[in-house]
Symmetry: C2
Subunit: 210 residues, 2 copies
DNA sequence: CCATCTATGTGACCGAAGTCACTGACAATG
DNA sequence: CATTGTCAGTGACTTCGGTCACATAGATGG
């Protein structure tokens, strides 16, 4: 079950590595809103998401900051970095949906890194994706207005949820965008007036493509 | 000459790899303000900075965006990504000072990646550093005022230049921070009034530690 | 059904930063 | 030295987004 899922998402993993993973990996299913990593904790398992979604936040002095979502077939670069550089976690990670995970023991991982090049391919790809996502975000923070950032956010949520009906509160959105509730309410009203969304308590519906 | 410098900065590289690098790497010295990579160009050499400094920009629709400086003993993650994923460059890179470079042929690099684990250690470390830098930047964009972002920028420049005297124009600073000249002028005046800096044409002096 | 809690709506206000228009200072060059 | 171009200073204005205060609506649970 688990290994087949993995192979689908990351087809280039060596057969032997897959066996190793099957042998040493720990399969786990977590309910929504469960922390799998807290700030400051030691990382001894690298998570690999088989199904579901994990949200990763950076906890700064100011406020929490959304970093990325770990989707099916992905892992967590911040956990990986903490693992191989052997420092504590700078981030927290929690499930957003029920999530099936494969947890890879870090000491095993260290050995695999020397034997199976495909892991590097996997991690580089992921690092690069995450980096480019952040670059885009910086770009939008500098050049875009809240209305556009919000719209983009909603469409991204729609992609993640595979639905145009988004069960979000204004407060949550504000946190993810680094803004405040009143502003999000105001801008959502504007989008509603423009016919781009409709909303009711706990739910926002996207009315337009893209 | 070149290899000794390299060993100083990255002591954990395998002896054999160093020999390979010496054999296949191309040593090059570039004057300031020279492009070593343009957007859209194909990457067939991975640059390694031995001395000097290279500025890397993302060229978006809106405006250019400062990504990072490649310093002594560092390489370029965006070039690396383009090389191993075999796509064109999404960024441009140009020297800020006279710069000594070691250019590693990408086809050789591919082989080295399978033989010498130390390269991975090097690249992961760099990727992680760049990622954390961007996270910090997002944080500051969201939570900090221009005055504080500007001060931080000036101190970073002081570190890079090894001097409190920064030969910068307001226009350059504005570009790096994603703002406009007038705003930077205004805020610099304020900092000057507060006794934190002094300035004259083409030069800003930091008057305080940190 | 009433009390409470959470989510949302909204108006008034404020401050930060971007825009525009113009001025003046300085440097370089013929 | 006169012209030109770059750099910096500045006031007036606008806009966006954050803050505050308060209202209302819907859900929830005893």
């Amino acid at each position: 079950m688990t290994i087949e899922q993995l192979q689908t998402h990351i087809p280039y993993l060596e057969k032997e590595l897959l066996q190793q993973i099957e042998q040493h990996g720990v399969f786990k299913t977590l309910p929504p809103q469960t922390y799998l990593l807290r700030e400051g904790s030691h990382v001894n398992m690298l998570p690999l998401v088989l199904s579901g979604r994990v949200k990763v936040l950076s906890t700064t002095e100011e406020r929490d900051l959304l970093l990325y979502y770990i989707e099916e077939g992905q892992s967590c670069i911040m956990s990986f970095a903490a693992a191989i550089e052997n420092h504590q976690s700078r981030v927290e990670a929690l499930t957003e949906t029920e999530t099936e995970l494969l947890l890879l023991p870090v000491n095993q991982l260290q050995q695999w890194l020397n034997r199976y090049p495909s892991i590097h391919r996997f991690m580089y790809k992921l690092y690069n994706q995450r980096y480019l996502e952040l670059v885009e975000r910086v770009n939008h923070l500098i050049f875009w207005k809240m209305e556009d950032r919000l719209l983009k956010y909603l469409h991204e949520q729609a992609r993640l949820l595979q639905s145009r009906e988004l069960p979000l509160t204004h407060q949550q959105i504000a946190q993810d965008l680094g803004s405040v509730r009143e502003v999000i309410s105001r801008v959502l009203k504007k989008l509603e007036a423009e016919g781009k969304i409709s909303q009711r308590r706990h739910l926002i519906c996207l009315l337009e493509e893209n």
